[in-house]
């Protein structure tokens, strides 16, 4: 990852108004490390608190825009946001520092959890607890799906595309990339730019 860095010119990193007021690579790493270590139950609100409210490294409009880019691209919101913010502040190295910082605490914790689980995973109490945890996680994902649908699905055809995607993966056992390309293409073409189209949908 770091080899690509040397090729890219740094000054381009500053393309929007707000000048990055001399934030150092160390500061970026530390801030994202703290977010990575404290963001229990979902990273996005912690990112906003820290980057917009506390540090003023980006403003709210930039935050929302970066989040929408993060959601459209492959990759987790948390790590994509780290890359975008780090890159904005200090180019390639900033992005690298941010993503390492945000990943490190969770990775270490899960490494330890993995070792523990391997040894004690069969214990009756552990299996009982894990049944409850897994069921709760299903509820959590469903809540995420509902929340995202409310926020970003405006057209009733969007629900058709959503259903097609589920059908392709779960019922027709199509691979995720094939589904993504096929249904994605269909949906993008459906939302194609139209002449004199008004901003609101349907």
């Amino acid at each position: 990852m770091s080899e690509t860095g040397t090729k890219l010119a740094q000054p381009e990193g500053i393309d929007r108004g707000v000048p990055p007021t001399g934030v150092s690579i160390g500061q970026i790493f530390l801030e994202f490390l703290i977010i990575g270590a404290t963001s229990f139950g979902g990273v996005v609100p912690y990112l906003r608190d820290s980057l917009v409210t506390k540090r003023h490294w980006i403003d709210d409009k930039q935050f929302v825009e970066m989040l929408s880019i993060s959601q459209s691209l492959p990759g987790l919101n948390a790590t994509n946001m780290a890359i975008l913010v780090g890159q904005k502040l200090r180019g390639v190295l900033g992005g690298v520092a941010a993503i390492i910082g945000i990943c490190l605490p969770g990775a270490v914790i899960m490494y330890i959890v993995g070792m523990f689980y391997r040894v004690h995973g069969e214990h009756v109490w552990v299996t009982a607890a894990l049944k409850g945890v897994a069921a709760a996680a299903v509820g959590l994902i469903l809540a995420t799906v509902v929340g995202l649908s409310k926020k970003s699905l405006a057209d009733k055809f969007d629900f058709v595309f959503m259903a097609l995607t589920v059908l392709a993966v779960n019922r027709l056992h199509q691979s995720v990339p094939r589904t993504l390309i096929a249904v994605g293409l269909l949906a993008v073409l459906f939302h194609r730019p139209r002449k004199g189209q008004k901003e609101s949908v349907a």
Binding site: V43, N80, Y117, G121, K131, A136, H191, P193
Partner: protein, 174 residues
């Protein structure tokens, strides 16, 4: 030790499927890690994913134990690099272009078109997981309760997962 290149390839591939969230890659992750390479069992995959929701940071750090079991410390490191490297590079490049494409009319079309598909992928991942996680009335009740609580109240999801653990111990210990 020859698991390392395999781990790298599998997780680099999975990383590109995480459109909309880590769950989007779950159906393929199940096929590749459980059925094809047998690095772990399906219940173990579900357990790791669920426990991973309680850890801070990006919510797919459950890949670390998979790498660790299959290839030791090196396996864990490789898996993280493979899973986050490709998308990081992509985001880096697209992030620069994207702001410049503000006037490009297809930009909005792509964003709008990808939204329902990425949500559909999350839901598909959720169903795949539910097949292994929801059995009987108790687990279904826990899932629905968490869903309703999250939709109606502002509660930290990590706490609800923890509550799931407690309820699990209370209802499933013989």
């Amino acid at each position: 030790m020859n698991q390392i290149p395999l781990l790298a390839r599998v997780f680099a591939y999975l990383s590109l499927l995480t459109v909309g969230g880590g769950m989007a890659a779950f159906p393929e992750m199940k096929i590749l890690t459980v059925e094809v390479h047998k690095w772990l069992t399906f219940p173990q995959l579900i357990h790791l994913y669920s426990v991973g929701q309680m850890a801070p940071g990006p919510n797919m750090m459950m890949i670390v134990p998979i790498g660790q079991w299959a290839g030791g410390v090196l396996g864990a490191v490789i898996v993280v690099l493979a899973f986050f490297g490709p998308t990081a590079v992509l985001t880096f490049i697209v992030g620069r272009l994207w702001t410049k494409l503000e006037k490009w009319p297809w930009r909005q079309s792509i964003q709008r078109g990808l939204a329902p598909v990425s949500i559909g992928l999350l839901l598909a991942g959720c169903f795949t997981m539910a097949k292994g996680a929801i059995f009987g009335l108790e687990t279904a009740t826990i899932a629905v309760a968490v869903l309703l609580l999250l939709l109606n109240y502002k509660i930290n999801p990590a706490l609800l997962i923890l509550a799931g653990a407690v309820i699990g111990v209370l209802s499933f210990t013989p």
